[in-house]
Amino acid sequence: MSGEARQYALELKDIHKTFNPGTINEKVALDGLELQLEEGDFVTIIGGNGAGKSTMLNAIAGVWAVDRGSIIIGGADVTGLAEHRRARFLGRVFQDPMTGTAATMSIEENMAIAARRGRRRTLKWGVTKEEKSRYREMLKRLDLGLEDRLTSKVGLLSGGQRQAVTLLMASMQRPKLLLLDEHTAALDPKTAAKVLELSDEIIRENRLTAMMVTHNMKDAITHGNRLIMMHEGRIIYDVRGEEKQKLHVSDLMAKFEEISGGEFANDRMILS
């Protein structure tokens, strides 16, 4: 639509990853994975257990090095970068609410750490006065009563509250890509709905490019502008726009059955 030399928000080229190679536990987790995200894409990711959903997110985040292929975020090749060096491009929220925050540190300290993502940690004071009032405003909008608990330890918060704070943290510094790894799976349905709504809001307001892994097919359909299904370390289904909006859970179920029923069938056949 715009220029010809299109720059993608994210490009995954021929990503391969095998865990425990050469052992009895060898597992091909990503097998020639290809994906391009447009700026502003909000893609939901579904697939069975071991399909490679979380593995893909971890590969992007640099939790370990991939065996082959390249990862390009906003035009920058990050394939060789360590996890903490890639962090400045990324906002991440994890499945376990404990993972995204430091429990023994206060809410404001956690947020301040996130606000300095990708910057050098100096001997300047860790949380400034202006920051405190800014964080208070941000927390007020969550409507969880956290704005008066800036100095409370995050460990005292509920799982939902922690996920909400982690979401705020992830959106700071406007990441080039937001990675949500089943971030509502560990929450009760009501809280999960609220956190999902908040995710939508944050993504919309900051016009973020986002990837959300979920087990909930309904959520996968109702959220985002694009949906991909993974199987055996590859993307086997990719819909966007209106076509995605017209999807029903039953369609996805059928797709799932197709895959598991035809275990030995070629994935390409399923695509056609």
Partner: protein, 314 residues
């Protein structure tokens, strides 16, 4: 009754020394607190570092004619170096933390012998203007006041510096690394770098404590740090158990906790003075310390396991 045979006065006489020793070792305990609690790293380097700090101070004062206070700065620096070695063994070479620290500790034994040339080097308070000495607490009232006032002030200054440091961006990065490494990495913190940094600061404090203790007891000894980690842990645990509730949730809780750790070290040495007064053979001291630390370290675990039963009883 055996107790009748004990002289309460002799216990009283032992106390000033116990307090002084506790304050000096309290600085080491601060170092242990940083690795054990903030970084979640069981660092056994300290047993070697303490002696390195002592050996360095004594030899610099005696051979190089350095001012005793300046020698303490070098003790701090060599302590940091020792911490750096452990940190690099762990982060750059992937050796498990405890093992990395044991390797450094063992190598420091040889290094300490090389620094001193033999296993023990005395330093005479009459010849040098030592910063601290056990002689000062047996002096007149003014001398005592200057000694205790100086040591306590020194400890408080250290606490203040550490409090400020761990409130900076860098200090927070260390705490995040120790608390939740996945979170730290996701927030762009170089966890390896900050692990090494924390070990350096911790061992710097231990080296400083060793330099002070050597001056205090009038000698550096290659074995002076043996079991130091246990004493440090004991101080941390005593401080937490006795003052944990008092410190929690309060403004500047971290500063109070560090003071509690130093007081924990003082209490530890008071208890040691007490059991020695009870005629416990001094050979058994380390066994006693280890048992006390083991008991207190296991309390949180046992509470978690049998917590319900205990609650039902009470």
């Amino acid at each position: 009754m055996i107790l009748l045979a004990l002289n309460p006065l002799s216990l009283l006489r032992a106390m000033p020394g116990a307090v002084a020793q506790g304050l000096i070792w309290g600085i080491m305990a601060l170092g242990v607190y940083i690795t054990f609690r903030l970084l979640d790293f069981a660092d056994l380097t300290v047993d070697g570092t303490l002696a390195t700090g002592g050996a360095t101070a004594v030899m610099l004062i005696r051979v190089a004619g350095m001012e005793p206070w300046a020698a303490l700065l070098v003790s701090f620096a060599v302590g940091m170096l020792a911490g750096m070695v452990t940190g690099l063994l762990h982060t750059a070479l992937g050796i498990p933390g405890i093992l990395a620290s044991i390797l450094t500790q063992i190598s420091l034994y040889s290094i300490n012998l090389n620094i001193m040339g033999k296993s023990n080097q005395p330093i005479n308070v009459d010849q040098y203007r030592l910063v601290v000495s056990s002689r000062y607490i047996s002096g007149d009232a003014l001398m005592k006041l200057k000694f205790y006032g100086g040591v306590i002030l020194g400890c408080l200054i250290l606490v203040a510096i550490l409090y400020c440091y761990f409130g900076t961006e860098q200090g927070q990065a260390i705490r995040a690394t120790g608390c939740n490494m996945r979170m730290a990495k996701a927030q762009g913190i170089n966890t390896n770098f900050h692990t090494v940094l924390a070990l350096m600061i911790s061992n710097g404090l231990v080296g400083l404590s060793g330099g002070l203790y050597a001056q205090y007891q009038g000698a550096a000894d290659v074995n002076m740090g043996r079991g130091a980690i246990v004493i440090g842990l004991a101080a941390v645990i005593i401080g937490e158990v006795l003052f944990g509730k008092f410190c929690a949730g309060r403004k500047m809780a971290f500063a109070f906790t560090m003071v509690a750790v130093i007081i924990g070290a003082v209490i530890y040495y008071a208890v040691i003075a007490f059991v020695l007064w009870l005629k416990m053979p001094s050979d058994d001291l380390k066994l006693f310390s280890a048992i006390v630390v083991a008991v207190f370290l296991s309390i949180p675990y046992l509470k978690g396991r049998f917590g319900r039963k205990g609650a039902a009883k009470s």
